[in-house]
């Protein structure tokens, strides 16, 4: 087998050792474009490499996810490209696969076990938000009131992102968080919560949002309150409309993850596993890049301009 991401190999999409197999793509949800891109890319790449690939949607429910594993193990898949619903809740499923001799390649969301997955290609949410936090301080300044919109409570991206952000921002006493509310990664909720937050604290200068959907919702509320010049909005993900919004100066910044990159990488690992390779690094971090007004032109939705 050859090393991952080697350009000419991936361009010429012949399966390593021309063995082909059935590859399952298990994704936490498909009603969020970010994950759709992740799943579609993984599938496409796997097929490009000559394998069969099917997408399983866990609908954000660990139970459904567990069922998917039962099913795909029963119906003889050779590898799983896996975006977990839950870092802890998903471990059991991955272990089960390992015992059945089916390799699991985790994408984006880490699972809390080093001995379960064949490899994990991770988007470092924490680090990404550290960067965002630093930029936040640069642009907003070292003093002022701000609000935070959390994602789905109980989702560990929610905590990672919040923690990363606060690891930086909390060092400045001048920056006071006057409201912290969950909007469950949802546009509508984000807007309604923001509307109310603005009532209670009309003087905030920034909102940090756990993902771009919420950022867009928050911006909507801010705009209709006519405060778009007073309040800076920060998102996370690098979704299409967020990139556009940054271009239009609506959002201050977002953190670009690289779902396509990660998905491709995972697909290629799986391909190589089927080809016989076994020595994968347990973790391959894929860094998250800060997207701001300055560098937005280098990016498109879910990735950098090629």
């Amino acid at each position: 087998g050859s090393s991952p991401g080697e350009p000419e190999r991936s361009a010429a999409g012949a399966a390593s050792g021309d063995k082909t197999g059935k590859i399952a793509v298990v994704v936490s949800t498909l009603n969020n474009p970010w994950f759709v891109v992740l799943a579609d890319t993984a599938k496409a790449r796997a097929e490009q490499l000559g394998h069969q690939a099917t997408i399983f949607d866990s609908q954000n429910d660990p139970a459904t996810e567990a069922s998917h594993f039962d099913n795909l193990l029963a119906s003889g898949y050779d590898a799983v490209l896996f975006n977990a619903t839950d870092s802890d809740g998903s471990v059991a499923s991955v272990r089960k696969a390992r015992e059945a001799g089916v390799p699991v390649f985790c994408i984006d969301r880490e699972i809390n076990a080093d001995d379960a997955a064949a490899a994990q290609i991770l988007s470092d949410n924490y680090a990404g938000c550290v960067e965002l936090g630093q930029y936040f301080v640069e642009t907003v300044g070292e003093r002022g009131k701000y609000a935070e919109l959390l994602g789905l409570l109980g989702d560990n991206n929610t905590t990672n992102r919040s923690d990363g952000f606060h690891s930086v921002v909390d060092r400045y006493e001048g920056l006071e968080m006057v409201a912290q509310q969950s909007a469950a990664f949802d546009r509508t909720k984000a807007m309604e919560v923001t509307e109310s937050v603005l009532q209670a604290n009309g003087d905030i200068v920034a909102i940090f949002c756990g993902n771009d959907a919420m950022a867009m919702g928050a911006y909507q509320a801010i705009a209709s309150a006519g405060k778009q010049d007073q309040i800076k909005v920060f998102g996370f993900d690098g979704a299409a409309d967020a990139i556009q919004a940054i271009r239009d100066g609506k959002l201050a910044a977002t953190a670009m993850q690289f779902p396509k990159k990660m998905a491709r990488q995972a697909a290629e690992y799986a391909d190589e596993w089927i080809g016989g390779r076994r020595d994968f690094p347990q973790k391959t971090p894929v860094e998250v890049e800060l997207v701001t007004q300055e560098n937005v032109e280098d990016y498109v939705a879910y990735g950098a301009k090629e």
Binding site: L30, N31, N32, P33, V36, L150, L153, V178, A179, Q180, Q181, S182, D186, R187, T188, M191, E192, V193, E195, S196, V197, Q199, A200, A213, M216, G217, Q220, A223, S224, A240, D241, Q244
Partner: protein, 326 residues
């Protein structure tokens, strides 16, 4: 009071009205920002969507049915409207593309909702499906269709017309509030003063008696569901306008809030009892609660607990105050 009567207000609603009053008073004293005009406008804008759904839900619940599909139908209608206003539909056959004006797109969105509702109605009346199942099926179908239509991507940037609807203000009140308020008054009158309205109550009270009295039960039910669908369509357009985007995740679990509002307003899921006015109160109670808890800066976790408790309390007081209705 007599004005209220006109809208069909009974002890029941007056009860929920007290619950609402208490809530408002408590919040006004505990947080200054609550009682501002601005915040009032906010609450109005926030409840418009739920109220729009609750109006239709009331019609269905009056017949003794239930409509679980409103959330998904809302999403589908919103997505369709957003999609059509953004890009034209190519018709290779005719060799040209079908352009939609904002108005056209909105009508199309509502029409889609109406169609879904009619389908629900047909399932219930023609095939005798239990409303719960019929509309549960639609919940799943409409959500799927929404994802198909949008490719799970939000459709954003819908232009002025939508913007005006979404964030516009007229005579100090949000345009949305005017729209939904108008619908509320309209249907309050329909339920109180028209034959169709009274037949809704009759069918809910005793389907057999209604049928034997020559009421066209099937017809009445069919229309109840159809209207509920259409109103969900309107709600979908309104939400899309508010968010300036049709998002596939819109409206998830909205059916629960809407049914809750109707029941808090004094309706009975057994059918035959309930009013539009009650639904309005119900929506206000829920809306004010959501808004107030955020203003108070209650943590999201506790919000869930408190919200549950308050709803229980509100309805418990209500019921205690007029036992006869249980």
């Amino acid at each position: 009071m007599t004005a209220l009567r006109g809208l069909g207000v009974h002890a029941a609603q007056l009860q929920s009205l007290t619950a609402l009053a208490v809530l408002v008073v408590v919040l006004s004293v505990s947080t200054e920002s609550f009682m501002s005009v601005e915040n009032g406008v906010n609450v109005l804008r926030q409840i418009s969507v739920n109220l729009c759904l609750s109006i239709g839900m009331t019609l269905v619940i009056l017949t003794g049915g239930i409509d679980l599909s409103v959330g998904s139908v809302l999403a589908l209608a919103g997505a369709v409207a957003a999609g059509l206003v953004k890009e034209a539909i190519p018709l290779p056959a005719l060799g040209y593309a079908l352009e939609f004006t904002a108005a056209g797109a909105i009508v199309a969105g509502v029409a889609v909702g109406l169609a879904c509702g009619a389908f629900n109605g047909a399932m219930v009346t023609l095939f005798g499906l239990p409303p719960f199942v019929a509309t549960l099926g639609m919940l799943s179908i409409a959500r799927g269709l929404t994802l198909l239509w949008t490719g799970a991507r939000p459709i954003t940037g819908l232009g002025e017309v939508f913007e005006t609807i979404g964030s516009g203000v007229w005579l100090g009140l949000p345009v949305m509030a005017w729209v939904v308020g108008g619908l509320a008054v309209l249907f309050a009158v329909v339920t109180r003063r028209t034959r169709f309205g009274r037949h809704l109550y009759a069918v809910g009270g005793s389907e057999r008696a209604a049928a034997l009295s020559g009421v066209r039960v099937g017809f009445v039910k069919l229309w109840a569901y159809t209207l509920s669908g259409a109103l969900a369509g309107v709600a979908g357009v309104l939400l899309a306008a508010r968010l300036d985007s049709g998002t596939p995740q819109a409206g998830i679990a909205f059916e629960l809030d809407s049914i809750a509002a109707v029941v808090i307003g004094g309706a009975s899921l057994a059918g035959g009892r309930g009013t539009i006015f009650g639904a309005v109160i119900g929506c206000l109670i829920i809306g004010v609660l959501n808004n107030g808890l955020v203003l108070l800066g209650v943590s999201s976790v506790w919000q869930q607990v408190i919200k549950g408790v308050v709803i229980l309390a509100a309805v418990a007081i209500d019921r205690a105050a007029n036992r006869e209705r249980c």
